[in-house]
């Protein structure tokens, strides 16, 4: 028996909206009905592709696309070297590619449920010029949302690398209270040409952060200094138990 732990969850401390890992998610609304083709990249390598059908008759308001389930390295499938120029919907690849459906007024949420991550996503209309991108996670734009949950306590720098605007977040060390801890409501950041607002935020571990954009953006969050807490574990310090001296009650 074992608890479900993914080591990457606890060893990755940085986030990059252009290299998504387990701690972050990207939200995009396709707006227009049609067929879309998405490509997944790790670094510059195109590792997977998928289709999205934006169907105005679809009741799906949120399509979660787990990029790790498309990664051949994780699912054990051979990498096929997906070409950004490959066709759609009838071409030789399409029958084996994963397809998602969403209402065009709904949202596609790209996230990573396992593994080291580092994924970028590009989406274009399937039937148009392959170079006409409608979404590029390395260059987010107005309407896109980057959200994340930072769990490692410490001080982080926040930077929009496309505008050089900077900010800071401080994640507090967890405290064991009289009730089970649940993170407070997420903090919302707005990224404009010159700034990230608020410039600084104090967070609790696992508390969500949500970035909205008015300009083209790519958010990088890096750990500046770790907070390793008081040094005394919050968990049990006494192992096992000794037979207690039990009192006898008359029943």
């Amino acid at each position: 028996m074992k608890l479900t732990f993914d080591q990457n969850l606890f060893t990755q401390t940085g986030l990059d909206s252009g290299a998504l890992n387990m701690l972050g998610a990207l939200t995009h609304s396709l707006s227009e009905p049609g067929h879309y083709r998405g490509s997944v990249y790790r670094g510059s390598e195109n590792i997977a592709a998928f289709y999205i059908v934006a169907d105005k008759n679809s009741p799906v308001a949120q399509a979660n696309i787990d990029l790790s389930t498309l990664d051949p390295a994780i699912i054990g499938a051979p990498s096929r070297g997906f070409d950004q120029g490959a066709g759609c919907c009838g071409d030789s690849d399409s029958s084996t590619m994963t397809q998602f459906t969403v209402n065009p007024k709904g949202y596609v949420v790209f996230h990573v449920s396992a593994g080291a991550g580092g994924y970028a996503v590009m989406v274009r209309r399937a039937e148009e010029d392959p170079n006409t991108r409608v979404f590029d996670s390395r260059e987010l734009s107005e309407g896109d949302v980057f959200s994340a949950a930072i769990i490692r306590p410490g001080t982080y720098s926040v930077e929009n690398v496309l505008t050089n605007a900077k900010g800071q977040v401080i994640v507090a060390y967890p405290r064991r209270g009289e009730t089970a801890y649940r993170p407070p409501a997420p903090v919302v950041f707005h990224c404009s040409a010159n700034e990230i607002e608020p410039e600084r935020a104090d967070l609790q571990p696992g508390q969500g952060i949500i970035f909205h954009f008015k300009v083209r953006s790519r958010i990088k969050i890096e750990l500046l200094s770790a907070d390793d807490g008081p040094g005394t574990p919050l968990g049990p310090t006494t192992r096992g138990w000794k037979k207690a001296t039990l009192s006898r009650t008359n029943g």
């Binding site: 074992k2 608890l3 949950a149 306590p153 089970a180």
Partner: protein, 302 residues
């Protein structure tokens, strides 16, 4: 009037009881799945001590016999719901709902805690009984042999006197400290599941998310009240451990281990040289008690 009358004083009867009591052992294990949790136990016990009172109404009363748990292992397995980080709303809808939420990630899984409860105190608080004489034909006695041959072959028929319980009451004391004992066991079991690479801050975060262990256990299992009461109900009523022990004790004294026995026919003179043993047949054997002694009466039959 009976041909034979034998008496044993109350003190001698106590010795006979203690000899019978020392032969009792009880072993049992069981397991069950109860939805949000599963549980199993393994018990081995014996009896020790106690007081005996002989009564003039032909009954005897045994009290305060310690039930000593040589083993009482209990295992509780829970499917930890764990906790999910994320799940917060990314895009709210105009009606205070949520259009899009962060998928997040969850930590949880099955965890089992082993409890050594052999320190629990249990007793036969009260056992009421009378004496019962039974005629037992030795099942190993070869067919067609004479009583003399059976005696020589050590397979004689016997009259046996048993303590015949009419009421047995067993109590296992589940102290309130079991709440902490179980909480510690679960806590240690979770801690043991933490992989070695897990950093200290991550452990602290997980403990913070899990919250107080007693509350966690109660929440998962749905315990209202104390864990001690829940465990008592589980073992006593759901697994039926106390009735099983009571039945085993009653069955043991009533039919498995007699406090005294007589061969039938009863040898008066053993074999000597070419002479066969001299034996008298015992008939109508009965055993009673009064406040002073046990009395066995029998007739010499044909």
């Amino acid at each position: 009037m009976a041909h034979i009358t034998i008496a044993a004083s109350a003190k001698a009867f106590r010795v006979l009881f203690n000899l019978a009591e020392a032969g009792f052992t009880f072993k049992k294990n069981d397991k069950g799945n109860f939805g949000p949790f599963s549980a199993s136990y393994n018990v081995k016990l014996h009896l020790s001590g106690g007081t005996i009172q002989l009564n003039d109404d032909n009954t005897l009363e045994i009290q305060n016999v310690d039930i000593v748990f040589d083993t009482l292992d209990f295992q509780l397995c829970l499917n930890l719901p764990g906790f999910c980080i994320g799940g917060f709303c990314i895009v709210p809808d105009p009606w205070n709902g949520c259009l899009v939420s962060f998928p997040g990630f969850c930590i949880g899984g099955p965890v089992c805690a082993d409890l050594d409860l052999s320190g629990l105190v249990a007793q036969i608080t009260d056992m009421k009984a009378n004496l019962l004489a039974k005629y037992i034909v030795d099942p190993a006695r070869p067919a067609g042999v004479t009583d003399v041959e059976a005696e020589i072959q050590n397979h004689p028929n016997k009259w046996k006197v048993f303590i015949n319980p009419t009421y047995v009451n067993v109590i296992i004391d589940f102290p309130e400290t079991l709440d902490n004992i179980l909480a510690n066991a679960i806590q240690n079991a979770i801690n043991d599941l933490f992989p070695s690479w897990l950093p200290g801050w991550a452990k602290d975060l997980i403990w913070a998310f899990l919250g107080p262990i007693v509350d966690l256990i109660k929440g998962i299992i749905g315990i209202v009240g104390s864990i001690a009461n829940w465990l008592e109900n589980l073992l006593n009523n759901v697994f039926g451990l106390v009735p099983l022990i009571e039945t085993a004790i009653a069955d043991y004294f009533a039919s498995q281990n007699s406090i005294y026995e007589f061969n039938d026919p009863y040898p008066i003179l053993g074999p000597s040289g070419i002479l066969i043993p001299v034996m008298i047949p015992i008939r109508n054997l009965g055993a009673t008690v009064n406040s002073k002694e046990m009395i066995v009466r029998a007739d010499v039959g044909a």
